[in-house]
Subunit: 494 residues, 2 copies
């Protein structure tokens, strides 16, 4: 059985300004119709009883949570498992969402009837289409942003797609220009006749090119998801005071729409596809190290954002004042290599990017450079804002499910960094193959078993010297959340 | 026999300011000790007679030029070929350089004797090492920048490496901080003892991390090459009036040093390695399309650079004033996908990036976004400078020659866009394999034969309807220049 969401879309859009109501709660949501709030909760699809919720929140036991057998199953028999951290924060700051969302064509306000026959008639006479959606949100400095994003991001994606219902279902290339404003009028797009002979010639610049770029349907979906992340971030900003939304979160979302997966990542979660034993990366991480040049470039162009406390240059370690005048290795926004420079007074400031690997930080504060929220985040005991350096925009990668015949052992794995910090791609692929072969291909529990095993192997077991992996190395003390999504024919599952 | 260059380094560095002399001419240079100038010439290693030069400059015949048999051979028996364009500019605006450069350790100005025994004693008692160097420069809007860069870039690389002579020959990790300024004192690096107990504690910021990043020898070479490009660009800027240097150029340089190839690319030339029939890309192109987001980000942060004539948003085609208020596809600096927006007054400006493929332009002016020169380039009949949007920094890729046993058929191919516009990677690999198998593996001419064949196949033959390829498609009407560098054991060639 599916979890279906009727996107209640009345006043969702960002354009309504600060007084906008949050969209109505999806059916099956954990806290009814009340505003998202920042209170601790677990994903609605886990359907935890209060007693189960208490157990899930226990840092000592770190019991692995999954949708229970006999309760509602996730779409496509998706596997899911999570575990709380070993005590680094009061609650599990990861959040998850899995939904099937109906995108309804925006109704005509002018009362004109839609004329296209190609539009889908899928939901009791309403025109639109469905998308499947899975997402993980890894919160930091509070759970408010992650909780709200887990309840809202798919509705923002739905809202962005509403204008595209007809366009995406029409096989001809999307129109470059729409005749009418679809928010105020009918959604039906019409091409502007460029040959229209009304004698009007643009006079602001002589057109040197008479080109028209072809834009694909796929890139419209990518644009819709990108802007949905932006609107989600705007909503968190607007409502952070009234809803007491604290912190920020990384967001990793997979949207399945018309035969394609769109995997959108903003932060340091990760998605991989395992197909016939082969690993296909579906995301990359956005950290101070991977985004160093973007951040240095911004700081170079807008030095006022550094509040006279930081330098945009990178040095391999802190410089001591007595080293003034000596030569030290550095790199700037243009460089990938290193060179020596004479240390000047200004170089004694703290570097914008500092530290290596998991310890790398922007302005000594935050270790991820994309995500939602963090609007109030400042450098410790200063008035320097971090947010201008963070991007809420995801990178979206596309995987065409129709280009390859998938078997039931082919999966898309989404995991927060709690998984990947201790288990690499290859190890994850190994666990996936190992567990799946021990269950019948048509056993709907097998993907949950994989998810649980991935979480258990990354958490480890509690010994006298903390949580330990099989090889006696330290297990992940972080929150861990994993989706295992089977690719072997969605048609078989929906 | 090798072409050896003694880098005369006296006053090369940019630090000497506008009055600096250009470095002395490399031995074998085409115009003796005179300043580079902007006059037309062909690579010195071609050793063209005046009559041959005239023939090379003939747009109708488009004779392919290569180093002649019986004259000086290029290092490693490197193959080279070039041909002039079909008339798009008066002269061949491509330039090439191939040298072996000795990097001499900077002498001690304080008279202290070097103490390291690990330093090389390679050149009659002088401490230093050699690097091999091949480079292509694809000029535009005049040949001045390309000619100067072809005569000087390797000397700037040499100059940057001089401070690293001892460090690169010492197997221990490079020192983070040097005790002395090597320009003013001995080049010998010394580690700053971090445990030094002098009671001095940095008081400008509480150190939160006690990390020291490891920096590799390789990344020092990358940094040296990056800064050499910058110094080259600065020199062109300084001397463009006195030397009448016009235009700009793409630059693609391959440096072989201590067992590794460093391939540095700024522009739309391309390098690939063909190894055992497999293609390994060694560069990527920098164009308005590949660098769209960097350019849009800059324009978004510095709108004054657009001179009120351009918008940083991208649209699939020009907007007509009568379309105001309608919705049109766009994307901004954060997006990879496309979305609709309502057209406002500001959107009627010309887009910063416009056009597709080879026709894409920055501010309707230039089709490459990295390179040297172009300091005076402006938007047609305006006072809007293009240079702020262009980067002189290359991307440097490293290939470790010692990690794989190469056979005589393994080559590194460098080509200007005249080659790649009509012949793709796979076709180039096909020609390489086809030609090489028809010559003995130890025939030193075989790489020249490959280079010639690549140029001929991209130029095509002159028919009644212009230059045509074997498949009757249009051949490249651009200048075409190609290096074919054998990887099969440099030890056998040097």
């Amino acid at each position: 059985m599916l979890l279906r969401v009727r996107a209640a879309v009345a006043q969702l859009v960002a354009g309504l300004g600060a007084g906008a109501q949050p969209p109505a709660e999806p059916r099956g949501g954990g806290d009814g119709g009340s505003p998202a709030g920042a209170s601790f909760c677990r994903p609605a699809f886990l359907q935890l009883t209060p007693e189960e919720l208490r157990r899930a929140d226990d840092h000592a036991g770190r019991a692995v949570q999954s949708p229970r057998d006999g309760r509602r199953r996730l779409p496509w028999s998706t596997g899911y498992a999570e575990v709380i951290n070993a005590g680094k924060s009061q609650h599990n700051e990861d959040q998850a969402c899995c939904e099937v969302v109906f995108v309804e064509r925006r109704p005509s306000l002018r009362g004109r009837l839609p004329s296209r026959e190609s539009s889908g008639e899928l939901d009791r006479g309403r025109k639109g289409f469905y998308f499947h959606y899975w997402a993980l949100f890894d919160g930091h400095a509070g759970s408010g942003a992650a909780v709200m994003a887990s309840k809202r991001l798919h509705l923002h994606i739905c809202e962005q797609l509403r204008d595209l219902v007809d366009i995406l279902q029409d096989p001809s290339p999307p129109p470059i220009c729409l005749l009418h404003d679809t928010r105020a009028g009918p959604a039906e797009p019409s091409r502007v006749p460029l040959t229209e002979d009304d004698g009007e010639v643009p006079n602001d610049a002589v057109p040197r090119f008479h080109l028209e770029k072809a834009v694909s349907h796929e890139s419209l979906v990518i644009g819709a998801i990108e802007n949905a992340f932006k609107h989600m971030d705007d909503q968190i900003e607007r409502e952070r005071s009234s809803q007491r939304l604290s912190g920020g979160c990384c967001a990793l979302a997979a949207v399945y729409l018309m035969g394609k997966f769109y995997v959108a990542n903003a932060g340091d979660s990760r998605a991989i596809i395992i197909r016939n034993g082969e690993i296909i990366p579906m995301s990359r991480e956005f950290t101070p190290e991977t985004e160093r040049q973007r951040l240095q470039f911004l700081a170079f162009l807008r030095p006022e954002l550094l509040g006279k406390e930081f330098t945009h240059l990178e040095f391999p370690r802190r410089i001591q004042p007595k080293e003034l005048g000596r030569k030290m290795l550095y790199r700037d926004q243009n460089m990938n290599g290193w060179a020596y420079k004479k240390i000047e007074e200004d170089d004694l400031k703290f570097p914008l990017i500092y530290g290596e690997g998991k310890k790398a930080r922007v302005m000594a504060t935050i270790g991820v450079t994309r995500g939602l929220g963090d609007h109030d985040l400042k450098v410790f005991s200063s008035n320097i804002h971090i947010k201008p350096f963070l991007s809420c925009f995801p990178e979206v990668r596309v995987y065409d499910l129709t280009q390859y015949e998938h078997c039931p052992d082919d999966v898309l794995v989404l995991g927060t960094d709690g998984l990947w910090d201790v288990t690499n791609d290859k190890e994850v692929a190994g666990v996936v193959m190992e567990v799946l072969t021990s269950y019948e291909p048509n056993d709907p529990c097998r993907y949950t078993m994989v998810a649980q095993e991935l979480v258990v192997r990354s958490r480890g077991v509690l010994k006298e010297r903390g949580w330990r992996l099989a090889n006696d190395k330290l297990g992940s003390g972080d929150d861990i959340s994993v989706f295992v999504i089977p690719l072997g024919g969605p048609g078989n599952y929906t």
